[in-house]
């Protein structure tokens, strides 16, 4: 029966086709450089990351505001 083996052949051909596409990718940048870019991005955006810098109680949108009662 050629049914099952033909299926395997089709699957294998698909895998080879995909690997050919991926093998053609130009991996131009060294990890040391791409990692450096990621580090630089984090450092550059440090100040606009509220979870790193902290949030003042008065400008914290999620903090329950306590109401003042004048006695």
């Amino acid at each position: 029966m050629s049914g099952n083996s033909s299926n395997s052949v089709i699957q294998a051909q698909k895998l080879v086709d995909q690997l050919r596409v991926e093998a053609c990718m130009e991996r131009i940048k060294q990890i040391s450089l791409t990692a450096g870019d990621l580090v630089r991005f984090c450092q550059d955006h440090r100040r606009s990351d509220p979870l790193l810098t902290g949030i003042a109680a008065s400008s914290n949108p999620f903090k329950d505001k306590k109401t003042c009662v004048l006695l």
Binding site: V16, K29, T34, A35, F41, F62
Partner: protein
């Protein structure tokens, strides 16, 4: 058949050859790793976030949540058969959407704030208009042959879905039809994330692989391996050049797109629970990962160290999200609560 076997042997040989070629190319650019580059980054110290609100309303396990673009509204989905839209500043519920099928696994907010989508074991993605007087079903996207694990809007007219049928799909909401079907995974697709420029997207699946796709051409451009079990969660690093995955193998990994490989693994000997969900802070420095151990652990994405934990849930943390303004983290759990921290 002899002819088939001969053909299989040729293909296998070519396959092995290509794999070796790819590995050699990856090794060629591997001249260091993230930890060494991160030596120059400032330390983040202990990250101690406080619980600001506990949102009560769902009656069963929460499976998914998603922030609206206004960083104030948020939608959550529970297997109690409801979607709830919350005003996170007041803690009030704005809209309740009753679901036809209670077995929901994913929910998404459209960038416009007009629509939400959900789906799960019904194999469908249903889109609702929540700005109408009462929530109105806009579309039922029915073509997947497996459960809907994740959905993400590109706009009010296009949505991406990931499914247990191993495919991802781009739909046209005006016609309700599939535009592009992305096939290449050999395991259930569990999660997807759109790149900041929306030209590509990444998917994580039960075949333990992550894949990068061209959104318009429908082709798989890169495949990333390394995990040893299902990838449940995937998110882009904010500059779009890297992404982070979370897996049942109890680790998270960062993969770099340009060098085509894993650059750091986030794991700890004391952490023996699978990762269910993850989200990044606005600068990309902090990773908030939800685990089966009822906690959301915080990782320093550059140095690979655990820098904090969000404890408080009484069951598995199933979903996490940071809003666009980065002002907090939301965690959702099987304990039926959503918690807001900052």
């Amino acid at each position: 058949m002899a002819a088939d076997k001969a053909e299989m042997d040729v293909l296998k040989k070519e396959c092995d050859g290509l794999r070796t070629q790819i590995e050699a190319a990856r090794k060629g650019v591997n001249d260091g790793n993230m930890s060494s580059a991160a030596g120059s980054a400032t330390d983040v110290g202990r990250v101690q976030l406080k619980l600001r609100k506990s949102l009560k309303g769902h009656l069963a396990k929460i499976y998914s949540m998603h922030w609206a673009s206004d960083s104030r509204s948020m939608v959550s989905a529970s297997q109690d058969g409801k979607l709830l839209v919350w005003d996170t500043h007041t803690g009030n519920k704005l809209v309740a959407v009753p679901l036809k099928s209670a077995w929901v696994m994913s929910v998404a907010f459209a960038p416009s704030g007009n629509l939400v989508a959900s789906g799960g074991l019904d194999n469908m993605c249903t889109v609702y208009n929540i700005k109408a007087a009462s929530p109105k079903t806009l579309r039922e996207l029915d073509a997947h042959t497996g459960y809907l694990s994740c959905c993400r809007f590109l706009s009010d007219t296009e949505i991406m879905t990931a499914s247990g049928d191993t495919t991802c799909c781009l739909w046209d909401l005006e016609t309700g039809k599939q535009k592009i079907i992305f096939t290449n995974h050999i395991g259930d697709c569990m999660s997807l994330a759109l790149s900041p420029d929306e030209n590509t997207f990444i998917s994580g699946a039960c075949d333990s692989l992550a894949k990068l796709w061209d959104l318009r051409e429908g082709t798989c451009k890169q495949t990333f391996s390394g995990h040893t079990s299902d990838i449940n969660a995937i998110q882009f690093f904010p500059n779009g050049n890297a992404f982070v995955t979370g897996s049942d193998d109890c680790s998270c990994k960062m993969y770099d797109l340009r060098s085509d490989q894993e650059v750091i693994t986030y794991q700890d000997a004391s952490l023996n629970a699978g990762v269910t969900s993850l989200t990044l802070s606005n600068s990309g420095r902090l990773i908030f990962a939800g685990y089966d151990d009822f906690n959301c652990h915080i990782w320093d994405s550059l140095k690979g160290e655990k820098v904090g934990v969000l404890s408080g849930h009484d069951n598995r943390v199933s979903c996490t999200g940071v809003p666009a303004d980065g002002m907090g983290v939301c965690t959702g759990s099987w304990d039926s609560f959503l918690k807001l921290w900052n």
